[in-house]
Structure formats: structure tokens, C-alpha cells
Amino acid sequence: MHKGYLALVLNAHLPFVRQPEYPRFLEERWLFEACAETYLPLLRVFRRLEADGVPWKLTLSLSPTLCAMLADSLLGERFLAYLDSQAELAAKEVGRVGADPVFGPLARMYAELYRQDREDFEEYYGRDILGAFDYFYKKGRLEIITSAATHGFLPIFRESVEAVSAQIETALVAHRRAFGKHPAGFWFPNLGWYPGLDEVLRAYNIQYGIVTTRGALLGDPTPRAGSFAPVQTPAGLTMFIRDAAATEAVWAESSGYPADAAYRDFYRDIGFDLPLDYVGPYVGDGPTRIYTGFKYWAVTGHTDQKRPYDPELAAAKAGEHAAAFLADRLSSSKEASALLDRPALMVCPYDAELFGHCWFEGPLWIESLFRQAAAGSASELKLVTLGEYLRLFPENQVSTPEFSSWGSGGYAEVWLDGANDWIYRHVFKAIDRMVELAERFPDETGLRERILNQAAREVLLAMGSDWALLMRAGKSSSFARKQVEDAIADFNRIYEMLCSNTVHTEWVTRLEKRNNLFPEINYRIFRKKR
């Protein structure tokens, strides 16, 4: 008899950073690094589990902007060029430290990583990472869900039901285009939830979402099962609740597993340690130093003397941490299940890019988790996707969670702050004008319809929550600011063109080619909701 259910949920997301007008663009590396260090390694984990007959279940949110970039042929070409460049740097590194008994094997490990990535991407998956995930979706191992079109932080836009609906409807169309199915679940970007969002989502036949423990426990009424069972809003949306202890174990900055001294240090990178003329060709030829992905040192702990990274030690630690995670969840579930009329559910949602890109051993931890959950005492915990759980337990306590997010402070502080609040004046104005355009021109066809569709894309791009996050974090903030400014300026130019009945076809065509996401967008999603 199962003592509890465990639902691992990953949110894979990156903002739209395609910059076709530049031969190489720094922020496109976010995508390439995530593909090389997270998505492809995770797919290799899934393949190994399948090959060994290990039963595993995972709910995976693939955001619409990420899907758009993974399906883009130009970015596919550039990813291959990135892998070739990394392989070249690996070869140089093997030449530099290959004879060293400690660092030589590490340089060869990186050479093998990028060789394997290239082989998987080009030959095994035919440059189709989405198709690779879809394979496991169709097999029933993965449940793929969607998120807001450009990861807009929805509580801030709650006043504009048109904008929130446009984020949702565009996402659903993009999901159906990528996977041929309507998603059952919806990932609230940054777990940003507000009462009333359920009504919009139910209107699009979305069945479930996930909220923070804080949002759920402050709900009305208080959930009787705590975070160990979902609640259902009056509108009929099932709200799964993040397990706080599972979050802390993996996510905590200084005490979470990834901070263990055995793991690879993310920050110590040859991009900063070696001369610029050596690493320069591999980091965009700019004057600034950035991460290359080649890291030779372990986290080590609070000392100036770093210890070299030992992959075997780290792999063993990942196994230990997987065992500890399962033991802790099993212990909680036994305690909670004794107080419930059904086995406890623990929902563990994380950013996918934590695994591999940030926490190098993360994919190994996931693999070990699934293998151990399938065997031994941990088999008392049953792995489920959220959709499966909902089919098993469709009736849940009615409660409306409170406005909340997983950002610092638990509400909207991250996305509404002195560093980024200026954007909302412009973004809301663009939304209002887009609604106005959709009302004024409901039946356009041909070129004018294309222009209106592009206007809708620009508004959605400006709404992306990543820009506000980056501005607040002070990382790539000038890039983030430019993304908002460009989207707003492009939208305003279209607005003025349509109001003055003039069309600059060449300019619009260029813009369509540049911001080519959501090819099936229909600007009428911005019509007033009556």
C-alpha cells in the first residue's frame, strides 16, 4: 500500500532572446547553455530510465517562448555552432591540462559532454528537442503543461482580463501546435496567482495549476489537509500546493543540496580564471568576461582553498541526496497520511534549469530519485503526474488561495520594484491600445491582419516577467530594458501606422521575421471580454 504520492514538477522556461540581426548574441547563450546542460542531459536520463525499465513520472511545463525558440531553425543552427565552439574549447583545454591527473579527466569530461550533446541534437533528435520531449509525453511518462505566453506575471495584470486572456489563449494555441493536445495544467509564471485567475483558466478548460504553500494556507477557507492535498476553487480549478520542505531541501540558497561541498562550483569558471585572449573567442569576442561552462572546482565550503571537482564523489553525493529526499518525503507522508482520509500528496516544483545548468549533478539526482523510488522502502511513495493524481482524486476541498508568488517576500515585490516599475506605465498603455485596435479593426485580412498580429506579439513580449526580474537583479539589465523599450516602441509605431492609415510594409516584414514567435497568433484575442 502506498503511503503517499510524490509529484515532481519542472518548469522549463527562458524568455524570447532570438536576435537574428546579430551573427552572435550573448543572451542567446542562455538558450544554448540550457539545452546543453539541462534539456539534453535530462533527455538522456529519461532514455536510460526507459532502457532499464524504471517507472518514472514527471510533470513538465514547457513555456511558449521556450517552445518557440526550440522550434526555430536559426537558433538550431546557432546551437550547433555553439556546440562546435564548446568542443573546440574543450579540445584546447585537453591540450592545456590533459596531462594533469586531476584536471585532465575533467577537460575530457567536458569534451565528451559537448560531443554527446551534438550527437543527440543533430543525429538522434534531428534538431527537434520538443519532439524528444513529446515522445515521452505520448508514452505517458511526462505530462507536459503550458504557461503564460511570455511568462507574464499575471497578478500585476489582473485588472486587464484581456491581457491575461491573451497570455493564456496564445499559450494554448502554441501548445497545441507543438504537441497536438490541449494541456490539462497551467504553470502560473513564478507561481504568481490571484483570486479570479481561476475563472479565466476554467473558461479555457484548464484543469489545474500550482500555488505556493503561503498562498494556499492563507486561502479562504484554510485548507484542512494543509499542503498534502490540492484544493479546488469555486470556479472548479484544482490547485496543487507546493511542498515547503521539499522546496527547502533543493532550493535553499545555502543549505539546499546544490550547495553541498562535493558538487561542482557554478561560479568558478575558466571564463574568469584564464587570460581573455585565450577564452575570448569562445565568449563572443567582447571585452567582458562571462561563464564558459568549463568549471574545474568543487563548491568546497567556506574556505579560500578550492578543492578540485571530483565527478565520482559528486555522483555518489547525488545518490545520497536522492535517498535523503525520498526518506524525508516518506516520513512526512506517513505522518500526514495518518491524519488524512487518503495518502498524502507532496508536490515538488522547481525550475528545470536548476538541474544541470546551475546544479551540474541535478540530472543525476533526478535519475537516482526515480531509480530509488522504484525500489526498496521508497517504493511506498508512488510517483504521479498532477493529471494522474487528479484522475485518482477528482473531489477536493473548495478553497480560494490568496494572491501569492514564489518570489522573494511571497507576493509581487520582485516584479514591482524601484528598478522596474517604470515599465508598467508603458505596458498597460500598450495593452489598452491593443484592445482599442482589436475593437476598431475586428475583421481585417491580408497585410493589415498581419500588422495587427505583430502588434499583439509586441504587447505580449513587453509583458514578459523576465525583464522585470533581470532589471531588479541587475543582471543583463540593459538588455532587459531594451527588450521592453523595443517591444513598446515597435507596438507604438504600429499603432500610429494603423491610426494614420499608413503602412510601412518592409519594416513590418522585418519585424515579423525578427520576432517570429507565435505564428498562429490572432490579434482578436485582445478584444474586450464581455
Binding site: 498534502f228 562550483d265 562571462i290 545548468h357 490568496e402 507576493y411 508603458h426
Partner: protein, 234 residues
């Protein structure tokens, strides 16, 4: 690229950048030394960021492995190049957390001209009114004076789990006039209500769920300030 950007800066801008970075430089220092100091400080920041990397795990930020000197880029062109005003009289309020809302507003040119021409005008202010649950207005409100060139404000709200409406008003001749009014803004609950949960099983499950670490257990309002009627009565 960085040195080119330095060259494009005026002496004044270069010193302003150094000042913003907390560098104490003697006035009249040669440009080349100012540049060296700034680059040295940026490099120092980078080193500090790397050497202190073991403890903090900025996971969200790690996803975006941007250039180390991006802060510097941001310093160079700080102001967004979008229009500052859309020439309309409006106000919008957004809930940020249980204690704060953000409001921004704008005035149309006609309104601005009228205000400038009105001799009796004594200034703009925001009126913050708590709404009753049935959406009627409670008599209590408070006012926040704002300058003519302000266009946004973070408003500290007296009660969580309440709805507010923000009005942009102008005072003159003992009366005030509404220029723009926001829609209702609902701020979330800060903590569980006293006595909201009495069932022992539920209390045990909430505890297992991490209630104590969330800092949401029943408590006195953290901000007990009562709304006081403003000096301006209609």
C-alpha cells in the same frame, strides 16, 4: 567596447558614474585615472561576486548568465527612451503585497495648462480610500500630497486583506476636485485570522506543511495605523 563607451562620456558623466559607484575621487582628476579607478572597482566587484559564490544560490539569476559588467552598461544610459507622458489624465494602482500598492498617474496637457492657470490651486494629492466589502465607500480615507512633477508613488496601506481606491485630486479654494480615479485594488491577506483554525488535525497538518516557517500565523496587524480623514472635506 568599454573604453569606447568611456570615451563617449563627458567629464561630468564620468565623475557621476564614479560617484554612483561610491568612488571618492579628487575633483579635477585626469580622465585616464578616473577610468582606471572605475575599471578597477568593476573588476573588484567581479572578484567579490565570484569569491563569495559558495553560500548564495541565486538560482533564478544563474539561468541568465549575463556579463559581469552589465551593471556598468546600465549606468551608461539609465533613462528609458520612451515617452514620459501619453498626454492623458489617468491613474492606475497595482497591489504589491499586503502592505503596499504602487500607483502611477499622468496628466493631459489640457489639464496641466488648466492647473497652471488656476491661481487658487494648492497642489495635487492622492486620496486613498478603503472600500467596504460591498464595494461602497467607507468614510475613512487619507491623503498624500504629491508634487506637480511626481507621477508615481508607493502607498503604505493600513490594512491587509482589504480593497482600496486611489484618486488623483487637486486642491483649490477649500475644496478638491477628482482628476482621475483608479479601479479598486485588492491587497492580500498577511496572516491567518485568529481562531481561523481550531481543528487539531488541521493544525497538525498545517504545522507539517511548514506553517511556522512561513510567518503567517495569526498576529496583530503589523501596521495598525488607522485611516485618518484628510484635512480636505467636500
Amino acid at each position: 567596447m568599454i573604453s569606447e563607451k568611456f570615451e563617449s562620456l563627458s567629464d561630468e558623466a564620468l565623475f557621476a558614474l564614479a560617484d554612483k559607484m561610491g568612488l571618492d575621487l579628487p575633483p579635477g582628476l585626469e580622465r585616464v585615472f578616473v577610468t582606471e579607478e572605475i575599471l578597477g572597482a568593476l573588476e573588484e566587484d567581479s572578484r567579490e561576486r565570484r569569491s563569495s559564490s559558495d553560500a548564495p544560490f541565486h538560482i533564478e539569476e544563474k539561468k541568465f548568465s549575463g556579463p559581469e559588467l552589465d551593471d556598468f552598461d546600465a549606468c551608461l544610459d539609465a533613462a528609458p527612451c520612451l515617452e514620459r507622458s501619453y498626454n492623458e489624465t489617468m491613474i492606475r494602482a497595482i497591489a504589491r503585497d499586503p502592505s503596499w500598492a504602487f500607483a502611477y498617474w499622468d496628466l493631459g496637457e489640457a489639464e496641466r495648462s488648466a492647473l497652471r492657470a488656476s491661481e487658487g490651486a494648492s497642489g495635487l494629492f492622492l486620496r486613498v480610500t478603503e472600500l467596504a466589502e460591498e464595494d461602497g465607500l467607507k468614510p475613512d480615507h487619507f491623503d498624500i500630497p504629491v508634487a506637480d512633477d511626481d507621477n508615481q508613488w508607493y502607498i503604505n496601506l493600513p490594512r491587509s486583506k482589504a480593497s482600496y481606491r486611489i484618486e488623483l485630486r487637486v486642491r483649490g479654494e477649500g475644496r478638491s476636485r477628482v482628476l482621475a480615479r483608479s479601479t479598486a485594488v485588492a491587497v492580500p491577506r498577511l496572516a491567518l485570522d485568529e481562531g481561523a483554525v481550531r481543528d487539531r488535525k488541521t493544525l497538525a497538518l498545517l504545522s507539517l506543511s511548514g506553517l511556522h516557517a512561513l510567518d503567517i500565523e495569526p498576529q496583530a496587524e503589523s501596521n495598525p495605523r488607522r485611516i485618518l480623514s484628510g484635512p480636505d472635506e467636500e
